[in-house]
């Protein structure tokens, strides 16, 4: 079976984010980019499926800072082929990115046929839509999001997929193959790969580069401004070292009848 994984890089929000001088985008100078968390889970699920059913895993991603590291890491984890789409401009538009990725998947030799296309269910910058349903739309394939497990049944040309609902409830769906899945969490935590293995992948592996195809004119949003949220309320901050703050918190909670 062939599993295609679509990867995105997003800002690492553990770092402080700043607005660029124009007031409409992020300041990129100190931005650290990482693979979108649920995309990492999508890759893990694809690798688990490959281990179970055999076949190959191909990762496709639009170029972004620090993408090469993520792609070499994917090779080190067990991906067979990694493809970087170069020269694409999409700003903060997932719908434009989805159009470019879908066209690349269609036109790059060997990316299709794929039995499953897996990607993260939602990224922190999906301002104008989610990539899995958009890829499904462009490629004419069914899609399902918030997926937490996949059981391929190649003999019947279908997969049984579990997705999340609220309150810890999950729902089981049967989806015909090929399909696009938005993965929330893989069946196991994403595997750890030692730095030495990534370095080895950098030496022996190869990132294929394909130029971005001209996408059809995609509708886009107009960002008027971007800013850090101004909270309507703010916690009462307790200062001092941990012991002092802990003592103060005890007093406050006792005052509310909570201790």
């Amino acid at each position: 079976m062939h599993f295609l994984v679509v990867f995105r890089m997003v800002p690492d929000v553990v770092e402080e984010l700043e607005v660029a001088p124009g007031g409409k985008s992020l300041e990129t100078e100190y931005l650290r980019m990482i693979a979108s968390e649920s995309d990492d889970h999508a890759l893990e699920e694809a690798l688990l499926l490959k281990e179970r059913h055999g076949g190959s895993v191909t990762v496709v991603a639009a170029d972004a800072p620090e993408l090469d590291d993520a792609l070499f890491s994917a090779l080190a984890k067990g991906a067979d082929r990694v493809v970087k789409i170069t020269g694409a401009e999409f700003g903060l538009s997932t719908s434009r990115m989805a159009g470019i990725v879908a066209a690349t998947i269609r036109h790059t030799p060997g990316l299709l046929p794929a039995d499953l296309i897996l990607t993260g269910t939602q990224a922190i910058d999906d301002l104008d839509g989610l990539i899995a349903p958009l890829l499904g739309f462009h490629l004419g394939l069914p899609s399902l999001g918030i997926v937490t497990s996949v059981e391929c049944q190649p003999a019947c040309g279908a997969a049984v997929v579990t997705r999340e609902f609220p309150d810890g409830v999950r729902g089981q769906f049967e989806i015909p193959l090929p399909a696009v899945l938005g993965v929330q969490a893989a069946e196991k935590p994403p595997r750890y790969v030692p730095v030495a293995k990534v370095r080895a992948a950098m030496k022996s592996g190869r990132i294929e580069e394909v130029p971005a195809p001209e996408p059809a004119v995609a509708p886009s949003l107009e960002i008027v401004r971007m800013s850090k949220p101004v909270p309507l309320s703010h916690a009462e901050m307790l200062e001092g070292d941990p012991e002092m703050a802990a003592a103060e918190l005890c007093k406050m909670l006792a005052g509310r009848g909570l201790l």
Partner: protein, 325 residues
């Protein structure tokens, strides 16, 4: 931009969700600004009886079809596409939860319009609709101008108080036909959460841990605090995905909505998906190394510290206080 404001009624397993009422409250403000009607769009199968709960709207558009019996993004998007193409609303508001995820994106794609995700507020400015969207895990807000209609808007839970949009009565109901194929992704069954563990939605005191706890071994400091407070440990999504705590302990979007009297969020940044689950909690204490973490705008008390250092100090202070009492 003119026309009606539509709110897709999110209902699941026979119940209208609270997010629907919150969205109706926001929709009322928008409808008044645009000078159109507020219409609740009730799609489903044998769901017409739910209309009586939707009196906050000026009217209910009810489309029933067996392909809409379970939440299927493709069927709901197609039904909304048919209705909105025929009636040209100004805006379609869709709650953004695990029930409805994907519907807005697909509707936008079918209409050839961008869907606007992550909306926390809407207003009309110079005749255009502007949406304020929370992005980057709650760390930034983007204001987006929408010039083409219908505006397809995904609305975060919690944008307005539930009670502002929950009115029972007899709103005028118009039944509309929808023609749908069976969805390609076919629903089979629900898998209920595993029983046996404690029900964190019923626990009065919760110590919640997030990514800031760094390692499974550090859970011990949270367990000790929970023991000293007579409570339980729960966690945000990354902790559950790492397998450090079972799914039954997850708080937020896919997990439990908790009502604890005391909720201590340790090493949790406060992404919208987590905050969704703690809106009914009583007193919230946040411990985070990042003084700008969004959780501090939801908490009552905040401490800028490493949770791994603070929790043992707090446990000690609680023990001392209890011994002294």
């Amino acid at each position: 931009m003119e026309g009606d404001t539509w709110v897709l009624v999110e209902h699941w397993r026979g119940r209208v969700t609270e997010t629907t009422f919150e969205t109706l409250a926001l929709g009322r403000e928008l409808a008044d600004s645009l000078g159109g009607r507020l219409v609740a769009v009730l799609l489903g199968h044998q769901c017409a009886s739910l209309a009586a709960q939707l009196a906050a709207a000026d009217g209910v558009l009810c489309g029933e079809h067996d392909a809409l019996a379970e939440p299927s993004p493709e069927s709901y998007a197609e039904a909304l596409h048919q209705l909105s193409s025929a009636r040209s609303p100004a805006a379609v508001l869709i709650p953004l939860t695990n029930v409805t995820l994907g519907i807005g994106t697909l509707l936008g794609a079918r209409l050839g319009l961008p869907a606007v995700n992550f909306c926390k507020d809407l207003r009309v400015s110079g005749g255009n609709l502007e949406a304020t969207c929370t992005i980057y895990g709650g760390k930034m807000e983007a204001v987006v101008a929408i010039r083409r209609q219908p505006a397809v808007l995904g609305i975060w839970p919690g944008v307005r108080p539930v009670d502002k949009g929950r009115l029972t009565g007899a709103p005028p109901v118009e039944n509309v036909p929808v023609t749908l194929p069976q969805p390609q992704a076919r629903f089979r069954r629900y898998l209920e959460p595993e029983a046996g563990d404690i029900d964190i939605s019923q626990v009065e005191c919760l110590v919640a841990v997030g990514r800031g706890i760094q390692d499974k071994q550090n859970l011990a400091v949270a367990e000790e605090l929970a023991a000293s407070l007579g409570g339980a440990v729960c966690g945000s999504r990354p902790v559950i995905d790492q397998g450090w705590l079972p799914l039954s302990r997850q708080v937020g979007k896919s997990g439990a909505n908790v009502k604890a009297r005391l909720y201590i969020a340790a090493g949790i940044s406060g992404a919208p998906e987590h905050v969704e689950g703690i809106r009914q909690a009583g007193t919230i204490v946040a411990v985070n190394t990042d003084p700008h973490a969004p959780i501090f705008s939801f908490a009552h008390y905040g401490i800028v510290a490493d949770a791994i250092e603070f929790l043992p100090a707090f446990t000690e202070a609680v023990r001392k206080r209890k011994q002294g009492a």
